[in-house]
């Protein structure tokens, strides 16, 4: 063989081998970690120390409000204001839309020591990064942004989520609106059958039975159900039948998976005999045929298609999914006289009632240690404070006079605005991608985001009236359950818990004290007692249990 032939082969092989070594790899599994938490840090309220404004370049990774809409355009007016007034050259990166992908991207950047200056992060990943010293405590930044600290970081429960060893390592912005899902009933069906809204579980069963068998829609067909639901639970906080059935457990005083009433009482609610009684009640609903028989296999979309078709008389639903204009339209078209009203959760045999559990969530932003080491802390605080003050409306709704106007009461209006430029149109969504960094659920925000509209027969449909109605009901506080860390066998544990409950309710297992005891023994064999002990200590340390 000639020399040139050998050279050709060797060069080709060498080049190809180098590139082969960079081949694709599998997505890493999310790592589950134990979390140590301390009592929430007190919010600092002392007077801010004036800090000279130094020019800075900041790279921030955020989760966009509308993930498919893309980032703000390069000529976004906010960039110029931030540059001119805050002396910050801002580089904005929108994280992938799913939490798992976000974690992967952040973990990869962390492993290569290239975390951005400020970034959105899940609590579990934050804990990992704290352990390896890649994120900085933010306590020193709070006095530099007094307004934002007051509006965003003054909730002890949320602060506890990001506090480790007595220091805050993240900035816990408000997460989701609490108390968004609640019980509603078809008032037009009640009227048609001459019934009153149920106030007790017995009433509930009576009304549900009538809705199922007495043809409330008057079409002569057996096509209605008293109660509709689907299994909506996952994770240690929501396993089992999920939130759609929580009002029944609430009627027995055992809403939710965990009893967080006090340190002495803490544990799985399933250990309380009343939990079995509530499960028996749900089983009796199934046996009576007053619940859509497909409920164990329905998806959320199927469930919603059902009530929009006019099949459901009572359900627990999200206020926006129920009453927002775009969601209400199909129901309105199919049921022009249909009318949903909020009802209080029924009272159980021991006088208890609860709509469900409140688990406050936080949207956490972390500051990289590298950013602090490079002296970017004050610039980060400056940017965040501006977003909560002068830049608030720009971040939340776009430019006043261009994307929105304010009415005499200070509420958002689109009067006088070019419809194509209105802040809530599809095309304008990139301008408010950072809105989740500023939203604090004020009345102005909620009125703008969840507007009233008119039904086909002229009634005013107010999504916020449903939210207000749900908020007025009794709820069970369970934010602490968010920091209960999953054990290594969490998937087996939650599957065992959920499957057994479903089998009990569907009659696939006998439901009595013996079988319930066997269920609890099964949970213990999967480490329930150990999980409770560890969780209890974590919750006490974090200030959620006393």
């Amino acid at each position: 063989m000639s020399k040139s032939l050998s050279k050709f082969f060797l060069i080709a092989v060498a080049a190809a081998m180098i590139l082969t070594a960079c081949g694709p790899t599998a997505t890493p599994e999310a790592t589950e970690v134990a979390v140590e938490t301390e009592a929430p840090a007190d919010v600092v309220t002392e007077e801010p120390t004036p800090v000279p404004m130094e020019p800075a370049e900041l790279e921030i990774w955020v989760s966009g409000r509308v993930s498919e809409a893309g980032p703000p355009p390069e000529d976004w007016v906010a960039y110029q204001i931030i540059q001119d007034e805050l002396l910050i050259d801002l580089e904005l990166v929108l994280l992938p839309s799913s939490a798992g992908d976000q974690d992967t991207k952040i973990n990869t950047a962390a492993a290569s020591n290239s975390l951005p200056d400020l970034f959105f992060v899940s609590r579990d990943t934050l804990y990992d990064l704290v352990q390896v010293g890649l994120v900085a405590p933010v306590d020193d930044l709070l006095p530099l942004m007094p307004v934002r600290t007051e509006t965003h970081y003054s909730d002890p429960n949320r602060n506890a989520l990001v506090t480790f060893d007595g220091q805050m390592y993240g900035l816990p912005d408000p997460g989701q609106i609490p108390m968004t899902d609640g019980l509603v009933i078809r008032q037009d069906w009640l009227d048609a059958l001459g019934l009153q809204a149920p106030t007790t579980l017995d009433d509930f069963m009576t009304v549900a039975t009538a809705f199922t068998f007495d043809d409330p829609d008057g079409n002569g067909q057996a096509d209605t159900y008293g109660f509709c639901a689907f299994i909506d639970g996952s994770g240690l906080s929501n396993m089992g039948l999920g939130p759609r059935f929580n009002f029944i457990y609430g009627a027995y005083g055992v809403a939710g998976v965990w009893n967080l009433n006090s340190a002495d009482e803490f544990g799985l609610n399933a250990r309380d005999p009343r939990f079995m009684e509530a499960t028996q009640f749900i089983r009796s609903m199934v046996e009576a045929g007053v619940i859509d028989p497909d409920w164990p296999t329905l998806s959320k979309d199927d469930f919603r298609a059902g009530w929009k078709q006019g099949q459901c008389g009572i359900m627990s639903e999200n206020f926006a999914a129920l009453a927002n204009r775009s969601n209400y339209a199909a129901f309105d078209e199919n049921n022009p006289e249909g009318e949903w009203v909020v009802i209080p959760p029924p009272v159980g045999p021991y006088g208890d009632s609860s709509e469900g559990v409140i688990i406050q969530t936080a949207r956490i932003y972390a500051v990289s240690q590298r950013a602090i080491d490079e002296g970017k802390g004050p610039a980060i605080a400056r940017l965040l404070e501006w977003m909560a003050t002068d830049g608030y409306m720009l971040m939340a709704f776009g430019e006043e006079g261009v994307n929105f106007n304010l009415d005499n009461n200070g509420y958002i209006t689109l009067e006088g605005i070019d419809p194509e430029l209105a802040w809530n149109t599809s095309a304008m969504q990139p301008l408010t991608q950072l809105a989740n960094m500023v939203y604090i659920f004020t009345d102005v925000e909620l009125q703008a985001r969840y507007q009233s509209h008119t039904s086909l027969n002229g009634r005013t449909i107010e999504p916020l009236a449903f939210l207000a109605g749900f908020s007025e009901q009794p709820w069970t506080e369970a934010t602490g359950s968010a920091i209960i860390n999953p054990p290594a066998n969490a998937a087996d544990f939650t599957r065992f818990y959920s499957e057994n409950l479903v089998q009990f309710v569907l009659g696939q297992q006998d439901l009595n004290e013996e079988t319930w005891a066997a269920f609890l023994e099964g949970l213990d064999s999967l480490g329930a007692a150990d999980l409770e002990a560890v969780a209890k200590q974590d919750l006490i340390d974090a200030g959620f249990l006393r």
């Binding site: 080709a12 081998m17 082969t20 960079c22 498919e68 990869t108 078709q309 926006a320 078209e333």
Partner: protein
């Protein structure tokens, strides 16, 4: 092609095989059909009536497709996907062909060692972080090459191609060499014209993997204007779930389910179209050279 049935056993066998293949066809086709039907379902239908596999004529709507094509990021993402697919596949073939050809030559010094050496990263991957560091140090973050270059040579595809080259008659190469052709000329003028099946087969393997690129873009491409279609698709699907709680009109004119389905359908369409055209080369491309005479 006409199949001759020689006996009842043959007939039963043919019925079973064809029945099995028909089942497979239905299993593959029904979800695609269902997605298509959902994508053309009008707003009034989708949320008021159960969706089935059939929809009456005249009741369909192209609103979801209109919305998708009017999506500000769609054309950009589609362009990025085409660039990644075409560019990436070209790079793949440009590197895989010479490597496979070199390794197919029995006279290559250290051939066995090189084959073994190539298999090492195939079996024991360096991992995500080292790869990320290499890409980062090369300055490829926020560059489409970051998606095309890592994995530019697939060991599996190289070995398949090597097997094909080994199956070509040695006499053809010798004749060209005797006529004064160097190895590049032999490869270009003699081997490649005979290798259409394997080039199309391996090229399609590479193209499909590039078209479906999702993980590398979210890792290496921070700029939204560089993201390919699968990332946009993922964002749309997740956003559709989240946005049902928002009152903005991105999905108001078409059902959310239709918009999701249209995104899925459009994203898979190019590969669905390409596959049948190249399918006839598959067997020839992958099996030729598998059995040595």
């Amino acid at each position: 092609m006409r199949i001759r049935i020689k006996s009842w056993d043959d007939l039963v066998f043919q019925i079973l095989v064809n029945g099995f293949l028909l089942t497979v066809l239905l299993v593959v086709t029904i979800p695609i059909w269902r997605v298509f039907i959902m994508s053309i379902t009008p707003l009034a239908w989708a949320e008021g009536t159960s969706l089935g596999l059939w929809i009456p004529p005249g009741e369909w709507s192209n609103e979801a497709y209109k919305q998708l094509f009017n999506h500000p990021a769609f054309l950009q993402a589609a362009t990025n996907s085409v660039i990644i697919t075409v560019g990436g596949t070209a790079i793949n073939l440009f590197l895989t062909v010479p490597l496979a050809y070199a390794l197919s030559n029995e006279n290559l010094p250290g051939r066995k060692f090189l084959v073994t050496f190539i298999l090492i990263p195939f079996l024991f991957h360096a991992g995500l972080i080292p790869t990320y560091l290499v890409v980062q140090k090369l300055g490829l973050v926020d560059n489409l090459l970051a998606v095309m270059l890592p994995g530019a040579v697939s060991v599996y595809n190289t070995l398949v191609m090597k097997g094909f080259f080994e199956g070509l008659p040695e006499e053809l190469k010798e004749a060209a060499r005797l006529d004064g052709a160097n190895e590049v000329q032999v490869l270009w003028h003699v081997i490649l014209p005979l290798s259409k099946p394997i080039l199309l087969t391996i090229g399609l393997f590479y193209a499909v993997s590039h078209w479906n690129e999702f993980f590398n873009p979210i890792l290496y491409l921070n700029r939204a204007d560089l993201q390919p279609l699968p990332v946009l698709l993922r964002n749309i699907l997740l956003a559709a779930n989240i946005n049902e709680y928002l009152d903005y009109d991105a999905f108001a004119r078409a059902p959310i389910a239709a918009f999701k389905a249209a995104s899925v359908f459009i994203t898979m369409l190019p590969m669905v179209i390409v596959y049948p055209w190249i399918q006839r080369y598959f067997t020839k491309g992958t099996l030729l050279g598998a059995v040595k005479e």
